[in-house]
Amino acid sequence: MTSSVALFLSIVCIGAVTYLMRLSLLALHGRLRLPGAVERALRYVPAAALTALVVPALVAPAGSLEFARSNARLWAGILAVMVAWRTRSVVLTLAVGMGTLWVLSLWMH
């Protein structure tokens, strides 16, 4: 377990790194140019990072793979993906996803 001092320092570090990254090209504009290849690669970071967070949370909610019918989060997540795809609405995605998870966990107990 991370101690609270280490946790506090980690948060300060993340904040500092994040701020420097946000400031980087706003401040350096005109003096420095990112190579085109780096810029193209950066475009895929959000999609790759968020997928890498979502998929394990759905197929392995407790840390190991779980494709069983009883994995309510997997079904709720699949439905949420469809809602997000059709509506592009964060609110609807949250409502349908949570609703499905609650109904499924009530039904399975």
Binding site: T2, I14, R40, A48, T51, L53, W102
Partner: protein, 183 residues
Amino acid sequence: MSAVVFAGSAQFAVVQLVAAGAPAVALVLTGAILNLRHVLYSASLAPSLRAAPARWRAFLAYLLTDELFGVVSARPPAALSDSERTWFAAGVGGSLWVLWQASTLAGIVAGSRIPASWSLDFTATLTFIALVVPMLKGRAALAAGAVSASVAILALHMPLRLWLVAAVAAGVLAGVLAEGHAT
């Protein structure tokens, strides 16, 4: 953390890592990698905010998020003068900040009274889904997502939760390769 970092996805991810008992190195690495995209936002907004004085740009950099980037980029360049654009960005960024801090406070006050059986942690996953699905447009982005997801599953048991780093690296590589292949 909301005041210092001010970034939704990195905060959610770090909280999940803390709950899983991940070491400090993994927290910082994850936060930094998730926020790497801000370098690109920074690059992309720099031309339209070039008129702002350095002090203002330093302040706007603190407010720069996915949402601010989205809203400011969605404005056609001709719609606002340079100084109006600076004020517009500051206004949007300031409102987002106040809302974010207020919601965090509400979470701290009410959060501990909400039972775990409500599974409210799942809202983080669902929010990511809502954010990522519109991003997965086109062959290259789909390849990035698919490879990243596969690597994340295969590498799930890597120590320090390094699977996230491995998955993002592989996903970005796949996106670049798929893009090169298509053109």
